[in-house]
Amino acid sequence: MAVVVARRLLDALPVLVGSSLLVFLLVHLSGDPALLMLSPDTPPEQVAEFRRAHGLDQPLHVQYLRFVGGAIRGDLGESIRFRRPALDLVLEALPATLELAAASLVLVVGVGVPLGVLSAARTGTAMDAAVRGLVFVGQGTPPFWLGLMLIVVFAVKLRLLPSSGRGDFSQLVLPAVTLAAYFVAAVARLTRGGLVAALRSDYVRTARAKGLAPWRVLFGHALRNVLIPVVTMIGLQTGTLLGGAVVTETIFAWPGMGRLIVDSIYRRDYPVVQAAILVTVVLFVAVNLVVDLSYRLLDPRVRHE
């Protein structure tokens, strides 16, 4: 187990190095990071002072090594807007985003997988056609539009749910549904596709021939084999999910990392943007490590390798 973890962490190293380089270069793309982060009417002396204070007068490779050195010690620079460590701001906003992501994940697994099963167990019926239609609509709907329409229907017209903020459960419903919709469709599609193939396989024929109850064949034999691709996809989509949180949080005024990023971009507070992107990448790597390890739980063949 420890060997597997170590090997996976080593695999993740290029990803971490590559992303740190990209995030570092991001602010240098415009030519002059100081001018990017300061307001246009800043006097030249203050610009020069800013450069000295942030080490921007050093050669590029020295700056990068400093950036990485700082990142390893947990120092990702200071927010220009709040004069506080950028990483602290990101970590304070993180729980709200994780709450939203977890709620969406519950919906994705709790709705997406059953929809896929329903559709695959009844291929060719009206139920199957309905699920497939839903999948296409779900994958073609812009998430932010879905969010706005949910606000119109449930907050403005029906007055059932609040349209913004974070606190009690009712405030979580609309943002979670908005964020989950696309992934519910994707998981339903993947589950259906995998199950249809699995139900045609030899081991399912054998299980049926043994006289097992249809539901045991479906859940005990066929579905188990579909879970690995589903879990893999959920892992690989973590980045997209966290990216989707940017839009969702902006619409619903959800005080998470996504809204922090958008606000920081608007206010040119790039150290916070850099810190947030790096934290997202680390989260992605961590989630996929867990996904990799979960194979061993889901599939005995992996354990015996």
């Binding site: 990209l22 991001l26 296409f136 609509v137 812009p142 839009v247 947030a276």
Partner: protein
């Protein structure tokens, strides 16, 4: 009606929607009934014609400056089509070329490129696009470049896989045995046989790119607001959700219609090639 026939009819209908959308975008200046940026403060926030107070002169209503929604939707289709087509072309060319080269030649090139693809895939792409566009300044060209280049791994992976499958076919083995130059094999034998998967990925990518462009415009970091775009219309409509929800409804419906149609078309194409 048989299942196959129903599916074919639906595919034709989706093709019709996509075709109509392309024609509307191409001929937008002649089709829009009003100047899409022409304001008319006397007829602000008119609801669609089928609602109370609606007027037939503005079938889909007007926005907070009295601009005609239908005309803005028609004009906005141009940016959607332009971004959709050119980003897919850019991503497909770059990613397709990398996929061809890595799949065919393998080796260090392959390992490095696939690692790079991993790195990029672990990046939340909308976040990076947002940050890049904020740094470089929002413009149509930047949006196309960022979204197009960000999508190369999807194409590279698919094409690489297809090339690996084709490379082991008999006709390639024969060509190698006959002493054909590798570049000739790549151009004459491999490339034509991986175009199918490339077209399918590209079709399925169109809706993603359109939604991404709309997302950027919605967040105010896409194409500058002086150009009407569907995402930009949604952004402006957001402030009027209470009084004029149709402002946000129409552009979203338009995006959804085109996105669902292209997805369905890509899927039908995929089934067709898979069963052929």
């Amino acid at each position: 009606m048989s299942r196959g026939r129903a599916a074919r009819l639906l595919a034709v209908a989706c093709g019709g929607v996509v075709g109509a959308f392309a024609l509307i975008a191409l001929f937008a200046p002649w089709l829009a009934p009003y100047d899409p940026n022409g304001t008319d403060l006397g007829s602000r926030l008119l609801p669609p014609a089928f609602l109370e107070r609606g007027r037939l002169a503005h079938p889909l209503g007007t926005d907070h400056l009295g601009r005609d929604i239908l005309s803005r939707l028609v004009a906005g289709s141009r940016v959607t089509l332009l971004v959709g087509a050119s980003t897919v072309l850019l991503g497909g060319l770059v990613g397709g070329a990398i996929g061809l080269a890595t799949g065919f030649f393998g080796g260090v090139l392959d390992r490095v490129a696939m690692r790079l693809a991993d790195v990029q895939a672990s990046f939340p792409y909308i976040l990076v696009s947002l940050a890049l566009i904020a740094v470089l300044g929002p413009s149509l060209g930047i949006v196309i470049a960022v979204l197009g280049l960000a999508s190369w791994p999807v194409y590279a992976r698919t094409i690489r896989g297809a090339v690996l499958a084709v490379r082991s076919r008999d006709y390639v083995t024969v060509a190698v045995a006959l002493g054909a130059h590798p570049m000739r094999i790549l151009a004459a034998h491999v490339t034509p046989n991986v175009l199918g998967p490339l077209v399918i990925v590209a079709t399925l990518q169109v809706s993603n790119v359109m939604i991404a462009e709309a997302t950027l415009s919605f967040l105010g970091l896409g194409v500058p607001l002086s150009t009407p775009t569907w995402g930009g219309m949604l952004r402006e409509g957001q402030s009027y959700l209470f009084y004029a929800p149709w402002l946000a409804a129409w552009p979203g419906l338009a995006i959804m219609l085109v996105a669902v149609s292209t997805n369905f078309l890509g899927d039908a194409l995929n089934d067709r090639i898979a069963s052929a």
